[in-house]
Subunit: 196 residues, 2 copies
Amino acid sequence: MFNKLLLATHNQGKITELKSMLSPYNIEVLSALDLELPDIEETGTTFAENAILKATELSAISGLPCLADDSGLCVDALDGRPGVYSARYAPNRDFDAAMDMLIKELKDSGNNDWSAHFSCVLALKIPEQSIRLFEGRIDGTIISTKKGAKGFGFDPIFIPNGYQQTFAEMSKEQKSTLSHRGKALQQFIKEVFQTE
Amino acid sequence: MFNKLLLATHNQGKITELKSMLSPYNIEVLSALDLELPDIEETGTTFAENAILKATELSAISGLPCLADDSGLCVDALDGRPGVYSARYAPNRDFDAAMDMLIKELKDSGNNDWSAHFSCVLALKIPEQSIRLFEGRIDGTIISTKKGAKGFGFDPIFIPNGYQQTFAEMSKEQKSTLSHRGKALQQFIKEVFQTE
């Protein structure tokens, strides 16, 4: 086991969610922002590849156990886009503009099926050990009007199946039990903190 | 822990090496050949991606803990080729022809530096658990004349740095201590059999 964990991300939304979900456990959680570590270029074509890349490089640089998140929104009518390119879908990572672009693309597609899912892969790299991958997915529907101000990214236009609120309307506790990231992190917690 | 392990490969050379290296441990080792399981298409662009794909799919099909190997020869003067496409470099997986093609490509390149390395990624998928990745690498030199009849694949034209014999001239014990696959498997054995 380990008592420090570095989150390999500069995304404040991800950092807030992961720190909150890890707060019940006896571990000091730092982020790449806290330590002013470099942003690793996401050259992979899959969530797993990018997560592996970030965890491996930042663990090597810092010498710390490192957890990286790669995640995104995959829209069926757009053949899975924006997918791994979700964070780079809009210029300057402006998600307000990105959501408008996505809604326009869906309207232009003429497809009435606005099914989508969020996917998340967490990669854990502990120095001298194998990389471990934890995956989570949540299916839902894109809506044509943004709703809610919580969360981050595409949350205001995503309603998980079985619910009537967008991720941006839910409390962080509720989003954490449902979300792609929450599910992947629950698997991580189960294996890392609750076994042995 | 588990007492059965499925090797997610139909490659007889890999099966022989992995079974031999795992023989000292108290575990029943089966292969995708033994169980007549389908060959999973390697659609990934990295060793890790293909290994994850094979381990995940064959573990899901069989319900067994599954270890997949993706590995290949990366030649510096050929910008890392054949790399993940090593097994598909020659038609009909004829490695005798593949070695001739590779030597010809290197001669034609005009580059006198015939440095190369073998890389191996092993992916372990235990049902209901995270995927773990174990990596190994061995640096060496390509030679222009095949030597030795042991091993498989590109072994007859690869001499590891610090040695004078090709992998195909070495005993399986000696190759196992040096090779990319041996190193990845040693990491696997250390984490899976020798901890806790």
